[in-house]
């Protein structure tokens, strides 16, 4: 998996209410519609600023708060190719992998707003093309690589009829 795009920077403790507000997410399963509200409470214009393939880049504890799977789904439907953060809250991390949204743990202090990034998950590196710096990434657990490679947990289950981590 290889992606190239621009970085959109956010701070620490970006919770799932910020990613998609409760006032929208209960009403519909239409993720395209919900994706127009992604990050709205932090930046009302955010969904218009994203060029397909861009990255959300944040500090610690990204995705804390509720278990709403709408959170990684709206990020994906907003055409964000991956989320990079110093650390992730555990439920969001699982949900992202289960729904096929790549999440990358790395030192995001080395990335600035608008920087152009290359993210290569197959070879496990991030390159900041704007600064020329290469950033190492914390590898995903083997189980999660398997689920992500299968296209998410639904596809994994469809393929194997259950969990298959052999």
């Amino acid at each position: 998996m290889f992606f190239e795009g621009n970085a959109h920077k956010f701070g620490n403790d970006i919770n799932t209410d910020y990613i998609i507000s409760g006032k929208y997410k209960f009403k519909t399963l239409n993720m395209v519609e919900l994706a127009s509200h992604v990050m709205e409470d932090l930046d009302p214009d955010f969904s218009n600023k994203v060029t397909p393939g861009d990255f959300i880049v944040a500090g610690t504890n990204f995705g804390c708060g509720s278990s709403r799977e709408q959170a990684p789904l709206v990020v994906k439907y907003a055409k964000i190719s991956a989320v990079l953060a110093k650390s992730f809250a555990r439920i969001f991390y699982r949900n992202a992998i289960n729904t096929g949204l790549p999440v990358v743990e790395c030192d995001t202090d080395l990335i600035g707003e608008g920087d152009v990034l290359e993210v290569d998950l197959s070879h496990g590196f991030v390159k900041n093309k704007s600064s020329g710096v290469s950033i190492s990434i914390k590898p995903l657990p083997g189980v999660m690589i398997k689920i992500l490679n299968d296209g998410g947990l639904s596809a994994h289950f469809k393929k194997y009829g259950g969990f298959n981590f052999e």
Partner: protein
């Protein structure tokens, strides 16, 4: 080598000897979905090619987050849930029955040693019953509905020992806010927390739920307590099922141990907009408020309503404050009526809403306006949480909320307990 509580529960559900960082595919005892997460679960279930639920008796759906439905979009999703539940034989708690995290324990299906997953982050609440329960997303839930199993990475454990006795006017909510301020919003990420010590043993079962409920606000996977006679007597009022307590081994390995003396604690609030932004109530006591919320899965239990009524008895809410009360279950609401608590609260000026999540998630029942300040007994004060990103939410105990409703500003409840 000795095991922690969570290592023991994961071991008993996977026929293996589990230690922290092991990968486990474990049998699940009980599965819960609510109306914000079940619709996506149903979608994932269908995408997986699911047909049968592994054991419908081990599954519960709860319509609590938007109950009754505030708009047609929600109504359609509720219908989807009801139709699926009927077709698959899933027991559903519908509008007015209460919050999932009160209703699941009230079924009696969860107790010491149980392994429970729920598509709601506050599923960690049942840790107060000595169960390993944790929040998952909709796709994980769908996988468990089909297979009856779930994969886990066994977490390390943070042991929090609370010594001493809480002073009068200081409650379990104050304790858990204090602890969240100390540990911080991601200080327990991926960890299981074991709460122990004299101060925890002294708490009622209702008060213990409040603490386990907020384990996820420190990033934790679980918030576990030992089972004692209070646990078993609480369970006996709901079930005849026999549970065996799960105790950590004396030589269990802990990732970290924190000890606190709670005897000098005071009432605390979490200030906007993070749960770990905690200070003593006294530091913000000049803050004018517009709305008070008492209820939710954190503090909507009978003891909470009783504490609030004790302060509001014979007094009136400030004329510029709306006091909204959402009991955590129908049973609690009925008990509050029988005990005269509901009458006291309504006479003081409170507005009762349907047992359920109430205004906590920002979809109905009291969305604040721009610039308004709310004090709530809920567990989250994120910007926009209650449906308006320009409002300000403080979190406190039912006593602090009730005292604040009287004065119209954030108030130390001990002023009314003298």
């Amino acid at each position: 080598m000795g095991q922690t509580i969570i290592e023991k529960i994961l071991s008993s559900h996977s026929n293996s000897q589990v230690y922290a960082n092991d990968l486990v595919v474990a049998e699940v005892d009980y599965i819960m979905g609510q109306d914000g997460t079940s619709p996506l679960t149903i979608k994932a279930f269908q995408e997986m090619g699911g047909e049968k639920i592994f054991d419908p008796a081990k599954v519960i759906f709860v319509i609590d987050h938007n109950a009754p439905s505030p708009n047609e979009g929600v109504s359609e999703l509720h219908k989807l849930m009801r139709d699926f539940a009927r077709q698959k034989g899933i027991y559903t708690c519908d509008v007015g029955e209460g919050v999932c995290h009160q209703l699941v324990p009230e079924t009696g299906a969860v107790g010491p040693g149980s392994l429970v997953i729920g598509a709601d982050s506050h599923t960690c609440t049942y840790g107060a019953l000595n169960a390993f329960s944790t929040g998952v997303g909709s796709t994980d839930l769908a996988a468990a509905l089909i297979s009856g199993r779930m994969w886990f990475k066994a977490p390390d454990t943070l042991k929090i020992i609370c010594h001493g006795e809480l002073p009068p006017g200081v409650y379990s909510k104050d304790l858990v806010l204090f602890l969240t301020g100390q540990i911080t919003a991601d200080g327990a990420t991926y960890l299981s927390v074991e709460y122990t010590g004299q101060a925890i043993s002294a708490l009622s079962q209702d008060a213990r739920f409040t603490i386990s409920n907020m384990a996820v606000e420190m990033g934790a996977k679980a918030g576990l307590m030992a089972a004692d006679e209070k646990t078993f007597s609480w369970l006996e009022s709901f079930t005849n099922k026999k549970y065996q307590p799960v105790e950590p081994d004396p030589d269990a390995r802990y990732f970290r141990i924190e000890e606190y003396d709670v005897s000098k604690l005071e009432p605390y609030v979490a200030k906007p907009h993070t749960v770990d932004n905690v200070c003593p109530v006294g530091e913000v006591s000049d803050t004018v408020i517009h709305q008070v919320v008492i209820g939710t899965c954190t503090n909507g239990r009978l003891e909470d309503l009783r504490i609030a009524a004790g302060i509001l008895k014979g007094r009136k809410c400030n004329k510029d404050v709306r006091l909204i009360i959402a009991p955590a279950s129908r049973k609690i609401m009925l008990d509050a009526i029988k005990e005269g608590i509901a009458e006291t609260l309504i006479e003081s000026g409170a507005a009762f809403v349907t047992p359920g999540c109430g205004p906590c998630v920002g979809t109905h029942n009291g969305v604040p306006s721009d610039g308004e300040v709310v004090i709530s007994t809920a567990n989250r004060n994120f910007k926009g949480r209650m449906g308006n990103s320009k409002a300000f939410i403080y979190l406190g105990s039912p006593a602090t909320a009730a005292a604040s409703a009287i004065t119209g500003r954030i108030t130390d409840p001990r002023e009314f307990l003298k």
